[in-house]
């Protein structure tokens, strides 16, 4: 008997309308474990080389792991993966909420979606049964309306809906896939892929809860997490949101501002998480925001999600669409020098209504702001919008125009890199893109291991693909036991790219990669400050699956397997070391604050990249996995 998972994957060909149920067997589950690694297996096997990301040959995989749906915090997450229309490389994104658990209860562990439906459809899965239903009447609806309509016509309010918004239908290259109208598989343009297939939504409902192999052991692990939450570092993130880090980042000069030209922004306090908690979380006026202004994912005790409600003024916000995370307050805030938290929340609401990634959307707008402020864009280019730094009204208007592909918004809907290429006039110098994907709000100029991850990560800049530098710098003393599990005990100098720092980058990237395959939340599980540590992650896998001999090393190897499959996918598409580059802006000194003058040294970066590739077992000249490495990981089939 399988514990923790259903043992069934659903394949659907939207062109023919045919379904197939695959039962891969335990060995497959043990080797890949779920999520992103599952997805890579199918994408490598089913996407032809050179496929158009928005064409019928691309394949979209939605995958859970062997842990999804178990009664413990941090497990209800889903991977969405396909070839990315934003980067042309492998696309991958993770999202949370209740849909992942409910999908598990419906009887499947993953869906592999290929082809294009003749007209808009949605997929309805209930208790092992499945059907495609007409979605013509849902096409063009914003997320909240489509979600309500699907629940209404299927007659069950407990149905969970994963869907695209109008931005995904419109092929916005950074559109995402959303559940609850506020949880996003945001990055790499997976919404545009789903939209290109004429697939509006996947609605799920089920009662088949997975059984854990060791219920008592799992219960003990879950209880420990709940009991220790208040003393953990993530209690602050839970109560005040990820934007609680705004002030500390400002103080240390690592708050990316003015489109990444500076690490400080004078207006930071107005957009900080503590301010958000006091002012716009639902219930704040009555002091009830802890109960009304926070939301959670299935079985998660942390409750970190923001619920913002604004009922007055120019930027009213419906709490159904959640509230901004740190990445969002940064890209729409400090990136654009905007200190208006209500306007930022409005932009967040628009992104969730229309289905767009707030990181790429905000960062694309900040690219336009810089180009405008440098005189490279004029009012004629921007449909009359004044993009002077700090103009909140223009930022909100532009967000909406992007979602609807209106005027100047139509150009920005292509992402900043394509927009810069089309505009020219030297605006490429303002880009902060990696493989075409805009940078999140964590600065490589300060946390140097991010230079390697942003450059070499197979799906472009990502801040959740490894543990950041502080864990092996001044914070190491707090995490001696957990970091020892990964094999680290020597504190490294701030802003160094020592061999030991690179070894840490490789090791923690493997752990995060394993978490993206186990579909674990990276606030709840991780190598340092998270609620649960590496040993707890192993214990979660053991208690849920019954694989009693599973070890941390095995999970690390599974994580490494996923990264190698991704790099192999990219290599097949012609991407290699020449694409693992940093935007020119990072080689120029930052202005102002404690990070004034800091920049990346080109030679140091290239040397570090050599070392990183060597440690990964990849060809140093090309960055492509060697045949020996693929065989070591049981991936020799990749090059067959």
């Amino acid at each position: 008997m399988a514990f923790g998972y259903n043992g069934k994957l659903l394949h659907v060909d939207l062109t023919s309308g045919q379904f197939e149920v695959e039962e891969p067997g335990e060995a497959f589950y043990r080797k890949y474990m779920g999520g992103s690694a599952f997805a890579m297996y199918y994408l490598l096997n089913e996407v032809p080389v050179g496929a158009d990301p928005l064409g019928p040959e691309n394949v979209l995989v939605l995958a859970l792991s062997v842990l999804t749906g178990a009664p413990i915090s941090g497990q209800s997450r889903v991977t969405a993966a396909a070839k990315s229309p934003l980067t042309g490389a492998i696309g991958d994104s993770q999202g949370g909420g209740f849909w992942p658990a409910e999908f598990k209860f419906s009887g499947f562990d993953a869906i592999v979606i290929k082809g294009v439906a003749k007209k808009p459809v949605y997929l309805w899965i209930k208790d092992g049964n499945y059907e495609l239903r007409d979605a013509t009447h849902l096409w063009g609806k914003i997320t909240g309306e489509a979600e309500a309509a699907i629940k209404g016509e299927l007659g069950d309010d407990k149905i969970e809906v994963l869907q695209i918004g109008p931005a995904g239908e419109n092929g916005v290259r950074f559109s995402g896939i959303f559940s609850m109208s506020n949880r996003a598989n945001g990055r790499t343009g997976m919404g545009a892929v789903m939209g290109s297939k004429n697939l509006k939504a996947v609605a799920v409902r089920g009662v088949n809860r997975p059984v854990a192999a060791d219920k008592a052991g799992l219960r003990e692990l879950a209880k420990w997490g709940a009991a220790n939450l208040a003393d953990s570092d993530i209690e602050g993130l839970a109560k005040y949101g990820t934007a609680e880090t705004t002030g500390s980042n400002q103080t240390t000069g690592t708050l990316p501002s003015y489109n990444y030209n500076s690490g400080v922004f004078d207006g930071w306090e107005a957009i900080d998480g503590t301010t958000m908690y006091d002012t716009i979380l639902r219930g704040a006026a009555e002091g009830k925001q802890d109960r009304l202004g926070r939301d959670t994912c299935y079985a998660c005790t942390v409750r970190c999600k923001r619920v913002v409600e604004i009922t007055k003024g120019p930027y009213k916000v419906d709490p159904h669409y959640g509230g901004p995370e740190y990445e969002t307050t940064s890209t729409f805030g400090n990136y654009c020098a905007i200190d208006n938290l209500q306007a930022i929340s409005k932009a967040n609401e628009i992104c969730n209504k229309y289905g767009m990634d707030t990181i790429s959307c905000g960062a694309t707008i900040s690219w336009a702001f810089e180009a405008f402020n440098e005189g490279k864009l004029t009012l004629e280019d921007t449909d009359g919008l004044d993009l002077t730094w700090g103009n909140a009204e223009s930022m909100v208007r532009l967000t909406e125009k992007i979602a609807k592909r209106e005027g100047f918004g139509d150009l920005l809907a292509e992402g900043s890199e394509r927009a810069a290429k089309k505009i020219g006039r030297g605006t490429e110098a303002y880009l902060i893109t990696f493989k075409g994907q805009e940078a999140p709000a964590h600065m490589p100029q300060v946390k140097r291991s991010l230079t390697l991850i942003y450059a070499a990560n197979p799906y472009g800049a990502d801040h959740q693909s490894h543990e950041h530098d502080p864990a092996i710098e001044e914070d190491l003393e707090f995490y001696t036991e957990r970091m020892a599990v990964l094999g680290f005990s020597e504190e490294q100098e701030p802003r160094s790219l020592s061999d030991e720092k690179i070894r840490f980058t490789v090791a923690s990237q493997r752990m995060y990669s394993a978490m993206d395959s186990l579909n674990l939340c990276q606030f709840v599980f991780g190598p340092a400050w998270q609620l649960y540590g590496p040993d707890d992650m192993v214990e979660a896998v053991r208690t849920i699956t019954g694989w009693k001999d599973v070890s941390f090393d095995e999970l690390q190897m599974m994580g490494e397997r996923r990264i190698n499959m991704m790099r192999s996918f990219n290599a097949r598409e012609g991407l290699d070391r020449k694409d693992d580059v940093l935007p020119e802006k990072l080689f120029k000194p930052l202005k102002g604050g404690p990070s004034d003058g800091w920049k990346i040294d080109r030679d140091e970066f290239e040397t570090a990249l050599d070392t990183y590739f060597e440690m990964c077992g990849w060809d140093v000249q090309t960055g492509v996995p060697t045949q020996a490495k693929l065989e070591e990981l049981g991936l020799d089939w990749v090059t067959d």
């Binding site: 993530i234 209690e235 880090t245 002030g247 006091d278 864990a471 040993d535 214990e539 404690p594």
Partner: protein, 84 residues
């Protein structure tokens, strides 16, 4: 001397809720940042600014009228694990 203190995020819960993290402290001449951390029983890693300048030296002596901000950092909490 008088020190203007602002605590953020979970740290401000060391003060009454209505204070919203703000306090004016009367400290002896020669008091250091470390003394403030001791008063508020802060033993986790924090990020501190004095007069809006980042300060990493907790032995720094304070001056009358200084504005001190203390932020929690995503670090310095649990380091134990259930699984030994």
């Amino acid at each position: 001397m008088e020190i203007h203190l602002q605590l953020y995020s979970v740290l401000r819960e060391r003060l009454p809720a209505e204070a919203k993290g703000r306090a004016v402290l009367q400290l002896d001449e020669g008091a250091m940042l470390a003394d403030i951390l001791e008063i508020f029983d802060i033993h986790r890693r924090v990020v501190i600014s004095v007069n809006n300048e980042h300060e990493t030296d907790t032995a720094r002596s304070l001056s009358d009228g200084d504005e001190v901000k203390i932020f929690s950092s995503i670090s310095g909490g649990l380091q134990v694990s259930l699984i030994e």
